[in-house]
């Protein structure tokens, strides 16, 4: 593939804590050379998740994703003209992943790095272990012009448009391993709850055994309540949120990390 989704980022007020959660519940690991002064970086062996301290002026939550590509020059050529609403900017050299940041026609931000580039460090160049067979499988964005954005990721990055189920209004693009879901945003989707702004919506994991995963998630949360997943549902509005999430999920189980970032869990092959 020309492009591979191998980076995600969450901004958090309690970033070391969140790292412990993903390590404990999903068995993600660090590189050992992580610059913890800048962020915590954990990996499933294929994709790195940067958990970034919330800096002044930023919003907390699921923030962006990143792709490693064969050639950034080709990306810029493809974006020019056909996608005037999109753009790229070069980044400072200290980051373990991003050489460039770009955005799609709706302004959804992503990072870019070239394969074998010097910018790649930490979990992005080292072999990391996957301790619990939980692997990232999805990054989902909700955006006003979903079709146009899906076309953008398909044409510029050669992500393959996957088949949709009957009645599915979302677009799913794959790099062969990870799925980028582009879901339409419209204010009336949020009837009965607070309006979510467009942007990153949720992430997905595939686990080998869903029952075993849920038992382990419960055990960890009871052993250390700071590492407990957030409960979904409860009040009337909370049920509306939970139902909206479930309706657009791939998996049969949905949860949230201690900050409230939505996580969809898919049962893989045992």
């Amino acid at each position: 593939m020309f492009a591979k989704i191998n980076h995600m980022a969450i901004i958090s007020n309690q970033y070391p804590f969140l790292q412990k959660y993903y390590q404990a519940v999903f068995g993600l690991t660090t590189s050992g050379k992580n610059d913890f002064e800048s962020a915590s970086v954990v990996s499933d062996g294929n994709l790195g998740l940067n958990i970034i301290p919330r800096r002044d002026g930023y919003v907390g939550g699921l923030d962006h994703f990143g792709m490693v590509v064969d050639s950034i020059d080709i990306v810029e050529d493809r974006m020019r003209g056909a996608y005037d609403g999109a753009g790229c900017v070069k980044r400072p050299a200290i980051r373990p992943f991003a050489a460039y940041s770009g955005h799609d026609p709706d302004g959804n931000v992503f990072d870019l790095a070239e394969k074998d580039s010097k910018n790649l460090r930490d979990v992005y160049t080292e072999e990391t272990k996957n301790l619990k067979n939980c692997t990232f499988s999805r990054f989902a964005i909700r955006t006003p012009n979903a079709e146009k954005c899906a076309e953008f990721y398909s044409e510029v990055f050669e992500l393959r448009l996957a088949n949709r189920g009957e009645g599915d209004s979302n677009y799913h693009l794959t790099d062969g391993k990870m799925t980028l879901s582009i879901m339409p945003w419209s204010v009336d989707i949020f009837a009965g709850m607070s309006i979510k702004r467009p942007g990153p919506d949720h992430i997905g994991f595939t686990v080998n055994n869903l029952d075993a995963f849920r038992a382990e998630e419960k055990r960890i949360g009871e052993k250390n309540t700071f590492l407990a997943s957030r409960r979904l549902g409860g009040s009337e509005e909370s049920e509306v949120r939970r139902t909206l999430f479930a309706r657009n999920a791939f998996g049969s189980y949905q949860t949230a990390d201690p900050d409230g970032n939505w996580i969809d869990i898919v049962q893989g092959q045992d």
Binding site: R54, R55, D56, V89, S101, R197, D201
Partner: protein
Amino acid sequence: MFARLNHIAICTDYYAINAKFYEALFGLKTAKKPRPARAVVVSDGYVGMNIIPRREGRCSGLDHFGLEVENIEEARSRIATFDPTIKLLKRPPVRPFAAYSAHDPDTNIFDLSEKKMQKDIYSEDREETRRQFSHFALRTRHAERCAEFYSEVFDLHLINNKDDDPNFYLSDGRMTLAVLQWNMDDYYGMDPQRLGPDHIGFKVESIESLKDDLEDLTGQNPLMRSRPLGYGDEGKARLGLFQSVPLNTYHLTDIEGVYIGASE
């Protein structure tokens, strides 16, 4: 005026302590009948700010603003004339301000309400505080188009005074809505910030007094601290972008890092 900007909302991981920060530093007052499980609402006597616990699936930070209009049906009609694809959504009745939510052409979200639909702090007669909200700023991709929207639909007055300023400032006669131009190139030296609400502004009697009060506040209660700004190369870049907005003479944050601009 047909519309007035009198509602702001922040989603926060620490809603109770953040509300205390705004009470302590800016003298904002809470509702007479609080509903502590839902949110803390504070007011300067004109603008109410809902400080909402971050719920699952949401992000934290400055979230949206709200406009009180003379007539919602008229606002709905004007929105449809400006852009028929923009929809209004009726909201659950539990909210003290919002009767409807809508968005501008760039999907920046705002609440809509009429005076008679409001509850709690928004329906109470309240004394105005010494330090007051002055503006709400959002950063968006099509700033000019959005400024036209707020001007044409809500009769907000354009008060730009510099030709070389890419931003747009619209006034309801008291509060200013700053529509800032978002540009990817502005983020060379830092992480790109997401589109949407950028900062809030306060008018204070004296910047020096505000600084003294912040110093004293943090000394009394170290949980009520503003975030340090301008440290390191990226911190300087972030502060530089914030300082490029000419509405503020002093720059600080709340305890979670939401930008606050102050001027005398």
